[in-house]
């Protein structure tokens, strides 16, 4: 007699199924609604129309979308460039104040971005930097909240490096900068790219912090959507939302194609 799947196994399947349902369900519904012919957002959709997409692709929405892309690219790059030396220092060196630096770097992960946003707004106002509200302030804020992601991913790839590689390079006659360029960098490259991607996406999807640092004409897409929602959920928003989902996906896919993030560099370990 063949025993059926155990109750635990069934429970696990149900849980996984529920996760997928609640994760993908809203996206699917939003996507379908964007092709609705009706004036109201109803599901299942009534008829088929592209007019919401025509509106979504107008400058009213493309402007904030491009602004978000610009912001996420700049903030992601800046966070990665900052994270690189930070991760090296934190992984390779034991120095006074290291714990404080760790706390400062990773702190924004624990702090609600809303609080960071309010704090930054006040800081800019009291410091007489009100003029910087808008893109410059947004970049600063986004670098702060993206930094932990970049630092963590780069630190992990540094820690994963076999211990004697740098000594080996040195004994073969490589001065420190060549060791970094020819040995360390190629091996942590994927960590750096992954860190940059995480930072980009985190910036692109942020609402909480951006809320306080925008000014007319310099508004990320999510804030624009939030503002629009006050007047109810129009099918246009459904189309815009689909755009904001697709863009990060395309970025990740493109980066993965270009760098082979899936490449498992350390297949060598494990053989022993």
């Amino acid at each position: 007699m063949k025993a059926g799947p155990s109750p635990a196994w069934i429970l696990l399947r149900v849980c996984v199924g529920a996760v997928y349902l609640f994760m993908l369900g809203p996206i699917l519904i939003t996507a379908t609604v964007s092709f609705n012919a009706s004036n109201r957002s109803v599901f299942p959709p009534q008829g088929f129309s592209l007019r919401w997409w025509a509106r979504a692709l107008s400058w009213e929405w493309l402007d904030p979308l491009l602004f978000s892309l610009k912001l996420a690219t700049l903030a992601g790059l800046a966070a990665t460039l900052l994270a690189l030396p930070l991760a090296f220092a934190l992984v390779r060196h034991r120095f006074r104040g290291r714990d404080i630096l760790v706390a400062l770097t990773l702190g924004p992960l624990l702090l609600p971005a809303l609080v960071t946003g309010v704090g930054l707004l006040q800081l800019f106002q009291y410091a007489g930097l009100r003029d910087l509200i808008g893109l410059p302030a947004l970049i600063v804020g986004h670098v702060v909240i993206c930094l932990p992601f970049a630092v963590r991913t780069i630190a992990i790839s540094l820690q994963g490096m076999p211990p004697n590689l740098e000594n080996a390079a040195a004994s073969l006659g490589a001065p420190p900068w060549r060791t970094q360029a020819n040995v360390v960098l190629p091996l942590v490259k994927n960590g750096i790219v992954a860190g940059a991607v995480f930072a980009f996406i985190h910036s692109f999807t942020d609402v909480n912090l951006s809320l306080f640092l925008v000014r007319p004409g310099e508004i990320p897409i999510n804030i624009k959507i939030l503002g629009f929602l006050e007047f109810g959920f129009a099918p246009t928003l459904a189309a815009v939302s689909v755009l904001t989902i697709i863009i990060p996906l395309v970025v990740v896919a493109a980066v993965q194609r270009m760098t082979g993030l899936g490449d498992f560099l350390y297949a060598e370990r494990g053989h022993g």
Partner: protein, 361 residues
């Protein structure tokens, strides 16, 4: 003869209050193969790191051909290193790994190619140059690491337990192969291991290390046949030890066993009366007798506890009458052994098989 290829002069490495290397002095001659042998934590790998320049010295001096290398960074020392975990660059092919040192030295492309090919031939890896480290077996990675260290023709080759990650059969092959390669290239080599048989087979000289110091330096036979201390005696091979004392008599200094038997044994220099010593006998130099041996032999009565069959030999474990234990190894000649657990026998060793070691260092 000029200066030795490598001199370690009272080398010290301290971490806070603890000394990893505590005053190590050793000369290695040009073309010599010297092994640093000791248990883990004895400071042998730290010593290698000091020679290569990965770690700064706390005190003392390290000289290559008489010139101090203190303050010289590792990339200017011209020392080849093979690491225990090989430390191959995982993102480069075997060829690129081997070529790395030549690239750093700005050797011309054509010469690099021919030297890399020759180095891979030398370690029997012809045709595998295009593979990445993870596509190679443990033994092959080991060979790439060796080729990479040799191709730069370093003044000194350092080997840090390079065989310990290989399985037994391969390890025994590589022992002989590395030793032959070293002799063929006449490259000055310092080899670190905790494996005594590796050390005995491969080395011109062995430096036995304990707690950051050298206990004894000598050729394999000297270290094995005439260990200078109890530590060396017990670390290299096995040793039966019997407490004894030195007494002065009419015929000079004599060794008196715990049972009061006086033996005329060769004494190491510097021994004075009265002093506690150990009589040391290798298991394969002793024998098991059913009746008392000649009077000038070391003889202890006891009972056979176990007889172990090792294939090439039998190992007989004895519980002696004074509470000590002893081991005798008898070569398997094919003839019946005739010894069973429970038999009362004599542990016996001729005077020439007995060593006298100071009991306290």
């Amino acid at each position: 003869m000029g200066d030795p290829a490598l001199s370690l002069v009272a080398v010290e490495k301290r971490y806070g209050d603890t000394a990893a290397v505590a005053g190590l002095t050793l000369d290695v001659a040009e073309g010599e193969f010297v092994t640093l042998l000791g248990p883990s934590g004895c400071g042998k790998t730290t010593t290698l790191g000091l020679i290569a320049g990965f770690l700064p010295l706390s005190a003392g001096d390290i000289r290559l051909k008489g010139r101090s290398v203190i303050g010289l960074p590792p990339f200017r020392r011209d020392i080849g290193v093979v690491f225990q975990d090989y430390a191959l660059f995982p993102h480069m092919t075997a060829e690129e790994n081997v070529a790395f040192g030549l690239k750093m030295r700005k050797v011309a492309k054509a010469e690099t190619a021919s030297r890399v090919a020759a180095a891979l031939d030398l370690v029997k890896l012809r045709g595998l140059g295009a593979r990445r480290p993870h596509e190679l077996s443990g033994g092959q990675r080991q060979r790439v690491a060796l080729a990479r260290a040799l191709v730069i023709r370093p003044q000194i080759l350092l080997l840090d337990e390079p065989l310990s990650n290989l399985d037994l059969k391969l390890r025994e092959e590589m022992r002989v192969e590395i030793a032959e390669l070293q002799r063929a290239l006449a490259i000055t080599t310092v080899f670190v291991t905790h494996d005594q048989s590796e050390a005995l087979v491969m080395s011109d000289r062995i430096a036995v290390m304990n707690a950051g110091r050298v206990e004894q330096v000598g050729r394999s036979t000297e270290i094995y046949e005439r260990p200078a201390s109890r530590f060396v005696a017990e670390f290299i091979g096995r040793m039966n030890l019997f407490p004894a004392r030195i007494r002065a008599g009419a015929a000079g200094l004599r060794v008196v066993t715990a049972r009061g038997v006086t033996l005329a044994l060769a004494l190491p220099g510097g021994i004075v009366e009265p002093v506690a010593v150990h009589i040391a006998v290798r298991p394969e130099r002793a024998c098991v007798l059913r009746k008392a041996p000649a009077a000038d032999w070391l003889a202890e009565r006891g009972r056979i506890e176990q007889v172990l069959y090792l294939g090439a030999a039998h190992e007989i474990r004895l519980a002696l009458e004074d509470g000590l234990r002893a081991t005798v190894e008898v070569t398997n000649t094919g003839a019946p052994l005739g010894l069973e657990p429970g038999m009362t026998v004599w542990f016996a060793a001729p005077p020439e098989a007995c060593l006298v070691l100071p009991a306290h260092q």
